[in-house]
Symmetry: C2
Subunit: 365 residues, 2 copies
Amino acid sequence: MFHFDVIKKDLTTGARLGRMTTSHGVVQTPAFMPVGTQGTVKSMLPEEIKNCGAEIILSNTYHLYLRPGHEIIKKLGGLHKFMNWPHPILTDSGGFQVYSLGTLREIMPDGVLFRSHIDGSKHFLTPQKAVAIQEALGTDIMMCLDECTPYPATASQTEKSLNLTAIWADLCKKAKTNDEQALFGIIQGGSYLDLRRQSLEKTLPLGFDGYALGGVSVGEPKEIMYKITDAITPLLPEDKPRYLMGVGTPGDIVFGVSRGMDMFDCVIPTRCARHGLLFTNSENVVIKNARWREDDHPIDETCDCYTCRNYSRAYLRHLYFAGEILAMVLNTIHNVRYYMRLMENIRTAISENRFEKFQNDFQNK
Amino acid sequence: MFHFDVIKKDLTTGARLGRMTTSHGVVQTPAFMPVGTQGTVKSMLPEEIKNCGAEIILSNTYHLYLRPGHEIIKKLGGLHKFMNWPHPILTDSGGFQVYSLGTLREIMPDGVLFRSHIDGSKHFLTPQKAVAIQEALGTDIMMCLDECTPYPATASQTEKSLNLTAIWADLCKKAKTNDEQALFGIIQGGSYLDLRRQSLEKTLPLGFDGYALGGVSVGEPKEIMYKITDAITPLLPEDKPRYLMGVGTPGDIVFGVSRGMDMFDCVIPTRCARHGLLFTNSENVVIKNARWREDDHPIDETCDCYTCRNYSRAYLRHLYFAGEILAMVLNTIHNVRYYMRLMENIRTAISENRFEKFQNDFQNK
């Protein structure tokens, strides 16, 4: 079961308000998905994730396949039950993680051969297997196995790569065995606009529940990500959700929304939190900074998160230097709530016909 | 403000039910105090500590004095506000931590000279300063600075040590400047019963709000701790709370209660949790054990904690091996709740005149 409705289109930008209905509930778009790589959004209880306003999270097929194994998760009732998150989950295909392994992996016509980063064991991931694993996990949105084209890559490498991704997309679609789980296709084509269009032409006719722009946020200059998103998003079907993979900073998300993107994911809020970088609506807070030593204010006076309601910067700084687990817990709650408030503010701005002003104010703040 | 009432005395053992009223609320005794060394019970939110049933926690003067500093905590409104725990807090005096430093410290008649384990800086802790620090922290129960006699120690070393502790106790009492905070004396005397009695005779006349048995759980054979607790507890004033410092395992706590002890603290529940050792009413669970790989049961079917209500052993095992912070969070919640249920069961057994049977059943389970 999967359904997407565009509720409202912005008059002056490409931004849109949507509603995505999945087997585990409704997601308002534009939506940001906190990353729960190993079946947990690092340091957060599921209730805390939900309380921050998240309606969907992302989990990583590659990691769960290797540990604890998708068959175990299936036996225990699927990923939602396993991790006590009864709300929507999107899983990536494992392609990006395998790609990130570098020399530990070899891409072949039928799939990708790789060695586990945990124990060095050999695995062969095919499009069919990527779908089978995600079906075993029982997640709401599955992603097709793709070859994530590195940056930089020549046009001929990129073309070869996007063709393989399109062939795999077809195989993924054919491998899918149920209607409870949605399947999204991925557009590749690197930094070449014509190759992005070529990927689009090969992928759209296959007919997916949603479309993602892949191979962005892979080390390319930000201008390239902007250029590709700007040019390709309008070519994606209007009636399907559009997902800008691995993006990004708050500014990148606002940009993506302005071009018509509906979904985002990134480790930035959670990873930065663990390193003590805290987002605010004005200047970001580096919690280890000596200036917070005796500061009795919350991270952000305007924030309504649990951390800001109860703790001072001085306490958070103390926990950070003491190496306390609670530092990561409290910082993560704040950053995830910051991202969720950003998405709420984006959606409100669209619904009130003032997204363009919101975007301008955001860029100039 | 401090008040202690013995509500009920067990008919066949030394166990007693009590009610300790402090400036930040009431504590039912026998009570266990989870340890929040650096102003946080490791990996727990204050609400989680409270939800587990804890009414009082312990925090360490030595650690907070060195980092972030008691003056900063005072400036920020005291330890309760700093750490968002509006309930009772007991602080130790720093004596035990300094003692644990080994070669980094030198005990002198007026106090103890030590080097910080953080930056090597030199500090001189006196009885007066120990009280001043705890007054700055604003905790509900302060402990006198004592010399924690090591094990083993000769009778003459031990006697010298207990005399110093008694002199310091007098100085602590005289240094105290308010009635909001209670001050407990500490009985030393090592493994020598006559020296324990000597310490008692020197300490009781000074008149404290409560009395602790110190210098136990310092590496001595368990039989010695049992022998001392057995002999000394009945000599402590009946109308004051009695605190068995640093104890201990569930079995040790049940023993201490049976001899008339009212308060306990120990890092066992929290530290074991972080290492994946989980307490249950039958066999304890070593979460990394391969037998839990596909186990869909909670840690303990009879446990009502958040972790047992929502997660399988298989999931907890996965989190543990994946090195996830959530493993520590969930395991700690369980173990602290286990200890709190133990105390609840102890109190109920006393109130229902069946503590002796409870103790026998507990020892034979």
